[in-house]
Every structure is written in C-alpha cells, then in structure tokens.
Amino acid sequence: SSDSGGGSAQPSNASSEGNAAAGDEVVIGFSGPAADHGWLGAINSAAIAQGDSLEDVDLRVAEGTNDANLQISQVEQFINDKVDAIVLLPTDGAALTAVATKAMDAGIPVINVDREFSSPAAARTTILGDNYGMGRSAGEYICERLGGKPDAVVAEIPGVDSLPLTQDRSKGFADALKTCGLDVDNRVPADFTVAGGEAAASQLLAAAPKIDAIWNHDDDQGHGVLAAIDSAGRDEFFMVGGAGSKNAMDLIKGGESVLEATVLYPSTQAADGVRLARLIAQNKAMSDLVEVEVPKRIVLNAPVVTSDNVDQYLPTAFSS
Amino acid sequence: MQDENPRPLLEVRGLTKQFGAVQALKGVDLSVLPGEVHCVMGQNGAGKSTLIKTLSGVHQPDEGEIFWEGEQVGIPSPTAALGLGIATMYQELDVVDGLSIAENIFLGHEQATGGVLHVKKANAVARTLLRRLGHGSLSPSREVGTLSAANKQIVSMARALSRDTKLIIMDEPSAILDAGEVQNLFRVVRELTSQGIAVVYISHRLEEIREIGDRISVIKDGQSTANNLDVADTPKAELIRRMTGRDVANVFPERTAIPADAPVVLDVAELELAGHFEKLSFSVRAGEILGFAGLVGSQRSEIVETIYGARKATGGQVSVKGKKLTAGSVTSAVDAGIGLSPEERKSQGLILDEPIYKNVTLSTFERFARTGLLDESAERRAAREQIDALELRPADPQRPARTLSGGNQQKILLARWLVHGTTVLLLDEPTRGVDVGARAEIYTLIRRLADAGTAIIIISSEIEEVLGLSDNVLVIDDGQVLAQKTATEIDEHGVLDLVMKGSAA
C-alpha cells in the first residue's frame, strides 16, 4: 500500500513558485492532542494559520483530544468524508496506527507528525522532531559547560512523564551526560504547564541545596520554573530549556537570566505537515530537493539556541 | 393458650446495652409465649426500641441471654433474626422510597428463580397481602415514595406478614394510623395469633393495649419493672405508675372560653392546591384551637403545608392578622408568625446529626445572633428551658438528635416553635409516639399557648385527642370540609359517621 497515498501519476517537481501557486482545492483533515500547553497550542495555531494562508486548502480541524478513542473516531470521520489528506499528530503513535493504516488503505495519504506510528505503512510521510536528539543536544551542551567537574549536580525537569517522547528525551539526555561522566542527580517531572513547572521547580530547589545545571524540557513550563527559581532567590546554576519559545529566546538574548540556552523543538511541524499534505494531495513534490517525490520521513534538527545564535531563531519562535 | 405452662417462644434474661455514656438497657427480661400479644410498655427513652433492636439483630447486647424455642441463640444480624422467624416493623419507617410497594414487601426475599424476578407473581401476592390488610385499592406497582406515612406503615406491615415468621415485633405501629386503620391492624393481629404466631406490641396508647394485649411487660429507665402482667387484671392507673413512677391524670386541660372580641389571626380564603383540595375557607381566632379530624389520606397534612407555604397554593389566599402571605414561600409564613411542626419528623423536621439545641433553634438562631455572629450559649439556654418544660430526655442540649428515642425527637419539634413564639401554630401529629406522661404535659402546654393568644391548628390521627383538645373541629375528607362544629357538639362516632358517609357519597 506504499504508493496508495501518492497517486499513480508522476509528481511534478515544479519550482517553488509552482508549488506556491494555487492548485486544485484540497480538503485536509487535521487532528492533534488537546492544546493543553503552550507548545501544542503553538502547533495548532500554526497549522490553522497555514491552512488559512493557503487558498486552495480547506483545513478541517478536529477537537484537540488526549483520548485515543476519540481521535480514532475523528480520523474515521475524515475517512468517511473522503478528505484528500490527513495530518495527524497522534495522542499516542501506536494507538492511532491501525486507523491511520485504514486511511492509507482507503487511498487517503496520512502525514504523521511528531509522534511516530508503530508501522511505516500507516503514513505517507512522517515529520518528526528529534526527541532523543533534543535530549542529547541538551546533555552535550551541559557537558561542554561542566565537563571538568565530575561531581557537578545536574537536575532535570521533564514534562508529562508517561509520554514516550519524554522518555526519549530523558534517554538522550542521560546518554549524552554519560559521555562526560555526569548523571542526573535530581529529576522532578512537571506536566508542560506553567503551574506544573513552578510546582516541580520549587520542590526540586528545596530537595537540592546546590545545583550546577538544570535541563527543563519545555519552555512553557519553563516560565513557571523561572518563577520558582526567582522566588527561591537561587542563581548558582545555569539552565537549558526546550522547545524554543519566544519568551525563552528573549531571556537568552537578554543574558540576565539563568536560562542560557534552549534546545529547539519546532512548533511548526504540523504546519509543515499541512504544506506537505497539500503537495501530496495535489501530486506535487518538494521543490528544493532533487528527489521527485515528497520524502517518506523527515526528522527535524534539534539545535541548541544560545546568545550567540539566538537572533537567527527568534523570528520563527512561538510565543507561548 | 390452652396449655397450662407452654414453653416460651422467646425468653430474654438480663439484657444490657450501652451507647457511649448512655446505658440504654440495664437488665431487661422478657418472655413471649406462642400465639400471644405481648405488650411492652415504658416512657419515651425507656429502652423499648433498643430491646427490640437487639432481638432483631440490629444491635448486639453487651450482656444477657436470648433463648429461642428453648435454645440459647445469638442474633448477629437482621438476616439471622429473619432466619429464626422474627420479623420486625421498626418504629422509624424502613421502606425504600424509590421502589414499588411490591418490591418493598419482598425486599431481601424476592419472588425469583435463579435471581430472575417474577414481577407479576410478586404483584399478585402483594395484592393479596394488601387486601388482607384492608388496602386492596393500593396498587402493588405504585412507588412507595408517593405514599403517605400511614400507607408506608401498611407496606411495612405487609412486609412483616410476607415472611414466614413465628414472632412479629411491632414498634409503635399505630402511631400514625387512624382509628379505622388501627382496627384493621388488630384484625390482622388476631388472625396471626390464631395461627400461633406471637406478636410483641409496643404502643403508648393504653386503650389499645387493653383491647389487643394478652400480657404486659414494663420497662423503666432500661430496667424491667414488671413482667408478664395480665392485661385484664392490671388497672390503667397501675400501668402508668409502673411506667412513670407517679400518677398521671390523662385528661385534657380545661377549655377557656375564647373572648368574644378575639381577632381572627389566620384567615384562609378559597385556598386551592390542584389535585389535592379546592376552595377551602376557614379562619382561626387568637386563642382558638382548631382541630382537623379525618382519616389518613384526607389531605389534612397537605392543607397545613399549603398554608405554611411549603407547597405552593394554586389559588386562594392565606393571611395572618390581615397581612397577605406569598404563596409557596415558607419565609413569608414564618415572618408573619406561623410555625409548623411537620408530620414526618425525620425527613421534614430534624437534622439528625446535629445536637438537640441546634435543632431546637433551627428557626431562631438568627434571632439569637448579633450581626451574623452566633450566640450559642444563648441558644443553649433557650433550648434548655424547653427541654425542662417538655421533660425531654436526656436533658442534654449537646446530644445529637439521632440518639434520642422517637418520642423525645418529637418533643424537639415542639420546642423549636415554643422558642420561636408564634401567633399561628400548625401542629401535624404533635403527640405521635409521645408517652402518656409527656402527652399530658404537651396538652397543657398547647392550651397554655392558646390562652396566651396563639391561634393553633392541630391534626391528630386520634380523634379523641382532636376532640378533647380543640375548641372547634373541622371534619375533613378527601380535601373537603364535611362539617364545622364546636368540639363539644360531636363525638368520635359522629366524626366517623360523617366521614363514612362522605366517602360513600
């Protein structure tokens, strides 16, 4: 079923102007998790904005949900409605694999965003942030800064602990730290929300009287983390963020904050997914590649943003 | 009872039971013979209900022995009691409102095979039982929540009958029944005893004991003071003395003539409650006691509840001293000076887990308060005054209402309006479950209130009480006033004749 989504005709690898030019009107269904924190809110907003900006796209947005059962029925609805493509950021990749496969079998290309399906046959294209890589980048940055201090105290504030993406991030982080002989001394999970970040950080600071570095997985919860740090009056450490919100980058640029760096995790994945869906549905390809078709898998880079390069990333940062 | 010395069905020796600091039973003996009606008597709080609850497995006695058909037994649960053949009609209604009459009757021993109900069969058997109780017109599928308290009592009775029993315990079954219903009950009791089934019968109405009882045991303050007295040989005065330790003249207080110029305080004009009664008009003057006589289900409760605003009148007008009340507003009634002591003390009257004094001041705590701040010591003082006046036992304002005996709970409701001080007092069954001694006190008190200028309406299922206490009587049937008389003009038979004619018409 690998080519079922792509159509049989050869895609036209038109110029980028050609891709931008309005084509046949296509209906794209989008379903994602509940926008219960800043990054996901940004993901949603960006996808909707993208849909609005493309004249030939009619974007159907289903209610954001964290319930696999509901999301499955949304995809089923899209299949019934015979949309031209589906952009899916699953609540749980494995749980949505079956229904995504069903869509593919029905000839509707599925663009899998961020959380990967358990079967490659379930998506025409997968566009992912690199969660493991994100953890690695954060760990490598901290190694670089603390490499000479084997007894340095490193703390970690992950997001929702039960999500596989959190596990991947933490694993990447631990692996990178290992290379320079460090490990995570304190780990207090939050929940991606500002309030959760604040609560977790104030507990963490009380539990660890001296810290050298903190990696906080998410800049939105990071706002709360920083509020807690401010309350506690602590500044003996530096902090690395995650995701890359505009607030975070402003602080990095300002240089006054303990927040020294943040690891990018693009909030435009779903918007990219919408663009890719349109191309695929209209049987176009990616103009800037030699390849004649949209690739099967795109893994986005997880660069570290510091005061040195922040200006480069500020324009695309999401304001949480 | 042909046998000279028949073996007792149930024999109880030296039963004691303590609740926290309260010693409810201090050594009670009881011996019940097959086929007899054994009456248990005692004042409010004497321990009658506690005794029967230890026999039906609700409470576990601290000490003492129970013999059933000659063998010593323990009764660890209601299931065990039912298993022995002891069925109980409890003093507090024990029906489930959300279930039908038939479902209530067969609760716990449903008509079923393999767990699957036989609805039709249950209804048929229930109908037979109801007919036996003289209530063939009640539909077995009717929801019990829609029944009056009296009819719920019938359901409870039918439930006891539906069991295969050797002993039926009835804890004040007649308290909410009218004269006709009581006769019905007695008929059934006689039927049971003729089949060799024993009945333990508790009541505060001495005439009933005379009529139905074979033997009497008396409890005072948790102790047996007399056992197995023969009803026929024991004069009423002696019974009262054994129960109370003193002589009580069970007479109604002297009526004092209502002054000719006494103003009308409560005026009811063409009052209507759709589906219950229509165009009802009467008035009560200051110092007058107006009695509502009638049978159960005659809508007397609905009438006073509508006057009080607890039900929203669909027509007509109630005024107090010329001031018109807002229909359906209890607050407006209370502000105008009306008080209601409701029919069902548990569901409508008391906050069971709160102490006595808070129940007494439920409608007056705002008055004791200053700028919203409670004055609990003043509340307690006021409550204590009424506790003393009404001989409420235990005389401890802090005791939760739940732990009081039924009769004493009833006194709390009276105390509430005594503290409040009303110009119009509506009393729906004010002596339900109250013992002889306290009854006399309450009668005196009601009369004293009237003498002080309060207008009073009283409902009682005992016609004798209505007639004895009131100045004027309304004979009511099916929401209609059949007759308005001065109390001395009519007697119990007169009322019953009127009602029978009324319902025949």
């Binding site: 509940a34 926008a35 949603n44 159907r60 947005v61 289903a62 209610e63 954001g64 964290n66 319930d67 696999a68 059962n69 509901l70 499955i72 029925s73 949304q74 089923e76 609805q77 019934n80 409605d81 609540t91 749980d92 990749g93 494995a94 749980a95 949505l96 694999t97 079956a98 358990s118 602990d161 039960s162 999500l163 596989p164 596990q167 | 039906s56 609700v58 209601p78 299931t79 039912l82 109980t88 409890y90 024990d94 029906v95 489930v96 409102d97 959300g98 279930l99 479902e103 609760l107 716990g108 021993h109 449903e110 079923a112 767990g115 699957v116 109900l117 609805v119 929801e143 929540g145 439930r159």
Partner: protein, 325 residues
C-alpha cells in the same frame, strides 16, 4: 417501565435535536450509515464503562477509578508474556487476564469501601492514582502493541454490518438493563442506594452486595480495556484517562440519581450517545475546540433541564433536593 421511559423522553428529544442539527449543518455526510457507525463505535467503550458505573451510582456509590483500571487492564492484557501465552493457546487468554485484573481492582475497591468504611469517592480516587502508577510501572511507560491477530481480528471485525465493538456495547446494555430491572441483584442495588439502613434491616447482606457491585464495574472496565486494545491495537497506561468523568456525566445526564436509589440503563445509553453525537456534529462543522467546550457546557445544562421538564412527575421531589449532588 412508564416512569423511566418518561424520564428518558427528554433525552430522546435532546438526541433528536442534535441529529437534526447535524442533518441541517452537514446533510448526508452526517446521516450516512458510516458516520452513524463512527458515532456508535466511539460511544461503545465509554458506553460499556458507563453501564457499569450506572450500577454503583444507583447503589449510592461512585467509582472514579474506572478510567485508570481500564488503562491497567489494557496494559496487563497486552503484556508480551500474556500475548506469548495467548499465541500458544488462544487469544481468549488475553480476555480472561484483562477481566481478571478488572475484577481484582474492583474487589479491592469494594472491600475498602464496604469493610474499611472508606467513602467511595476517596477509596476509588486512591485506586485511580494507584492503578495508573501500577500500569506505568508494568508497561515501563511504553505503549505495548497488540500483535495477537486472533484478538485484533475479532475485535475489529464487523458482524452483520455492525462492528463487534458496537455489538459488545449493545449486549452490555441489554444485559445491564436486564440485571438492573429484572433480577434480585438489581432490586437490591436500587434498595441499597435508596435506603441503605432499610435494606440492611430487610436482611440484605449489604456489604457483600457492595463488594459485588464494585467487582461488576471492575469487570466492565476490563471489557472496556479489551475494546480499547482492539480499537487501538495497543495497551498503555494512558488509555482511559479521565474516562471516569465522561462516564459519570453520561450516567447522571441520563437520569440516574447521584445520591442513589434510582438508575436507568436506557438513560445512560442515551447520555453516552448524546455526548458522542455532539462531538461528531462539532467535528463535522469544523468548530473551534474552545468554542466547542463553551457550547458543550451549555448543552449539558440544557439537556438536563429538558430531561427535567419531561420528567415533570418527579419534579417536586427533585426540587426539594437541588443541592444533593
């Protein structure tokens, strides 16, 4: 049956109105049989859960743990070891294991509530938290794939054109209705909810009955867990997250009294369908999630008001206890 049916009338009206809105706004797309099956399939899992919950609520209890017990049963049912054993024997082994896990969770709830005298709200809240933690530990927070094709084939199959999941829902509803209305078990459930003390005095073994009620709802959670495994071909601790609220909402909107003493399976089914249809109509109309939330709140209140208007016979009594949650 006239009483409950009368009470359900308001819900039927609410559902019909919703369907009409769907019809007007989305036309054939909404009424197509495929779309109806989408609604039903979506409703089926919460539906089975809600039928179980109807029983405990009718008995005056509550179960907040159903959602996380669902997650736990799905995790245990799709463990590698279990699936391996299942592939050596039969996939019914997975069914047995999941139901057993649900039953044990229910047993624990029931014993804590009936014999430990812990209020149901707190006891099942504790189980909610603990079961989620246990599921995470067992699954190592990974999503376990259900690879047993016998199982997935069955659960994802159609029978007479109707998905097996929907059949399970229908069977559960029919069985629940029968159990509640036609058996001594059901009578006693209503009685305990209506007047626990009177039930005890009538000789009902109240504690034992309460335990069996929680076991029943635990088994319902196990069934729902299996359905979820079938639908998502996965087992994870996040399955069933916050389903307890959806289930309770459906039950109470359906007309079962939260204080106990009256329960209606028909009402529960209608309640579940209303919520499921609502979501479907929203998606059909491409409505903004936040606006959806706002509208949903208003519709819940309206549905209940409508239901009350139709159950007018019961209105007076309801009026007297507006606060009793």
């Amino acid at each position: 049956m006239h009483g409950p049916a009368g009470r359900s009338l308001g819900l039927v009206v609410a559902l019909v109105v919703l369907v009409l809105i769907g019809l007007v706004t989305s036309g054939d797309r909404f009424t197509s049989s495929e779309n109806m099956l989408v609604i039903l399939r979506h409703a089926s899992i919460i539906g089975v859960l809600s039928i179980g919950v109807t029983f405990v609520i009718t008995a005056g209890g509550i179960d907040l743990s159903v959602g996380s017990v669902l997650g736990l049963t799905s995790v245990v049912g799709s463990l590698t070891a279990v699936q391996a054993a299942a592939s050596e024997s039969t996939w019914l082994l997975m069914v047995v294991v999941s139901l057993l896990v649900g039953a044990v969770a229910g047993l624990i709830n029931g014993v804590i509530i009936a014999y430990g005298n812990v209020v149901a709200f707190i006891a099942t809240l504790a189980t909610l938290v603990a079961a989620r933690g246990l599921a995470e530990i067992i699954s190592e927070r990974r999503t376990l794939l259900v690879t047993n094709t016998g199982f997935t084939k069955f659960m994802r199959a159609d029978f007479l054109g109707v998905p097996v999941l929907v059949w399970i829902f229908a069977l559960a509803a029919a069985a629940g209705w029968f159990l509640l209305n036609r058996t001594t078990f059901g009578r006693r459930t209503v009685a305990i909810g209506g007047n626990l003390e009177a039930s005890r005095l009538a000789g009902i073994k109240v504690k034992r009955h309460i335990v069996s009620l929680y076991v029943l709802v635990g088994i319902a959670a196990g069934v729902a867990g299996l359905m979820m495994m079938g639908r998502t071909t996965s087992g994870t601790s996040t399955h069933g997250y916050l389903y307890e609220l959806d289930a309770i909402a459906a039950v109470v909107v359906g007309g079962t009294l939260l204080v106990g003493g009256r329960g209606t399976i028909m009402g529960t089914v209608l309640g579940v369908l209303i919520f499921s249809t609502l979501t479907n109509v929203f998606t059909q109309n491409n409505m903004d999630t936040s606006v959806q939330a706002l509208a949903k709140g208003a519709i819940i209140v309206l549905a209940v008001l409508l239901q009350q208007r139709f159950a007018s016979g019961k209105m007076r009594r309801a009026k007297k206890q507006p606060l009793k949650a």
